[in-house]
Symmetry: C2
DNA sequence: ATAATCCGTGCACACGTGTGCGCAATCAAT
DNA sequence: ATTGATTGCGCACACGTGTGCACGGATTAT
């Protein structure tokens, strides 16, 4: 019933376990004859190396931990896909856990990962506060923050993200060029930092164009519901006698808003333009197809994992900020006549 | 630079490492005074138990491996969420890997999991053939198949899934009751078994109602593209002079089909009814909201993990087949006048 | 022929943890 | 006071693997 170990192989081959170990690892000090015989026996016995024992010996597990807020979020699904691909390609195993946007759970997960002696950790949407960061610093595990929601200006930590501010700027430029002069931003309180940067880039750009203060409203939900539902609810609180364009924190919120508009007969994009963020898969299949600020989601995950690998290899690294791009589809159009000032 | 071990604690407390181990594990043979002193020192030193060493000693890792075809698929996102929740709640860690619908990669991932000595494995959309099953049987790792795509009538394996045939029946009953007499099924070749059962339940039910053979067409794409795109393409190959209703393998394909219909001006549900499968989050926010056969996705993942835990605990278990339900929204409506025979 | 080199292998330890067994000390019972 | 039970702790081993060092035998150089 016990698993077969190199000791078992050694007994069959009538050598010591040291020789078996060396033979399996291709050490050239083992004669070819002995080596082939050992490999043969290992195969017959169905030997599978015990990575646990190896990890203990090597003081390295070839394992990394990934913590994301929500597995079912389409954005994170793509990010995880990228992380997993690079991880597997480099023969590293991946521990996965969800934090549900709860900072204390984020830290708890990290502690569990540390117990399991992961080589490194990737944290998505980190909201770790000072106390939690201090604890993390004591642990001394190489950590990469992915779209961090707080400013981790601590030495020894690394980050990958996108330029949220630039994304907000893109949205503002696009809608302004279409003639929109009364706009609203639908935000998410679950991701404070990226939410603020997106709305800030949006607002400052419009202000730079000379838009009066009162012509831009921002709405946030304190509810913990799904983004789709939040988008629907936020959209219902808007005064559409003035507003002609919505910029949303992400595509889910935008799609929720879109659904609200349909349900009350507001034509998109004829009467109202909507711009999302992320460019999730469904965005190009909504009706109308969603204009959005695209994030390279899979690349984000890949980059985070590659950065972590570089850190683990002791190579010099720099934090990476990827750039979002505007994808124009059919949910945005010129502002209705008579609305421009 | 080295991590602190119980040996280090022992030195500080001037006892043996055995005593420290027992104290930490709450063994009652250690006096309270010594025990509190040890806990104190452990805390000061920032001790974190080494799960790797524990695993080696206990011959048990408290770890399970999960392999799914695609992380970015909204269906699997929810399933993973369920698995992860139960896993974490029971203090088990979760290895995650993606197989990209490739049976050889499925097995490869399983072998890696085995090397890492996971206690059990959950395989989503398994397509393991006989040879691969034999290999898996040799490994002797408790395995739960989740929505298996092949018949694993091997002893020692367990399964969780939904009744795909019943789902097809529900769709047929719904559309027949609405008066539809020319229907089409849009399928997926990436999941042969569930695809066949859904289409079979659909077809046999309609045949039972007396629907002529030629009035039901089934379409499958051999492309490896996303489901959304596949739905779009399959929908474009249909003759809408006759067909008044589509039943789709899943919601993504249904949404792709819906988008095609919009783009060419086919009114849904006035001229064409569409029924999906899964009830992913976006389904109730599409335009029109999607009528679909709902799967309890999170519960599916939870059940799979619970089943695995029961197996690991040596409890008697039985395979579980959950039941899908019909969710009527606005993409299905009575057949247009004059189409019923 | 002797010494120097090289090749192939085993001994013994380390990684960090848990535990059966034994031993000394304390306590209660006769 | 001697015996018996109880308590508190350490010794030594095990889990499976990798590796520095030493050692014996074979080969080559002097």
């Amino acid at each position: 019933m016990r698993r077969v170990s190199i000791e078992d192989i050694a007994r069959h081959a009538e050598v010591s376990h040291s020789t078996v170990s060396r033979a399996l690892r291709g050490n050239k000090r083992i004669s070819l004859t002995v080596r082939t015989r050992i490999l043969q026996i290992a195969n017959e016995l169905g030997y599978t190396p015990n990575a646990i024992a190896q990890s203990l010996q090597q003081r390295q597990t070839n394992t990394t931990g990934l913590v994301v807020p929500d597995m079912a979020d389409p954005f994170w699904g793509e990010v995880v896909k990228g992380v997993e691909a690079v991880s597997m390609h480099n023969q590293k195993a991946l521990f996965l856990s969800a934090s549900q946007y709860d900072p204390s759970r984020q830290l708890a997960v990290i502690e569990v990962f540390h117990q399991r002696r992961v080589d490194g950790i990737i944290v998505g949407d980190s909201q770790l506060g000072d106390a939690q960061m201090n604890r993390l610093a004591r642990i001394k595990v190489p950590t990469v923050f992915l779209n961090s929601q707080v400013d981790h200006a601590y030495p020894g930590f690394h980050a990958v993200g996108i330029d949220n501010y630039a994304g907000g700027v893109l949205a503002a430029q696009h809608l302004w060029a279409l003639g929109h002069r009364h706009l609203a931003y639908l935000g998410s309180t679950k991701r404070p930092a990226s939410n603020q940067m997106r709305s800030l880039g949006f607002a400052e750009t419009l202000r730079g164009y000379g838009l009066p203060l009162g012509a831009l409203a921002t709405h946030h939900s304190t509810s913990l519901a799904d983004d789709l539902r939040i988008g629907y609810e936020l959209a219902s609180a808007i005064d559409y006698t003035q507003t002609t364009a919505l910029f949303c924190y992400n595509d889910s919120i935008a799609l929720g808003a879109l659904t609200y508009c349909r349900s009350v007969g507001i034509d998109v994009p004829q009467r109202l333009s909507i711009v999302g963020f992320d460019d999730v898969a469904i965005a190009q299949f909504s009706m109308p197809a969603l204009t959005t600020i695209a994030q390279p989601k899979v690349a984000l995950g890949e980059t985070a994992m590659q950065l972590l690998l570089a850190v683990l290899a002791g190579q010099p690294t720099i934090d990476t900020i990827l750039t979002p791009t505007l994808v124009v589809r059919h949910s945005s159009a010129p502002a209705p006549k008579g609305t421009a000032q």
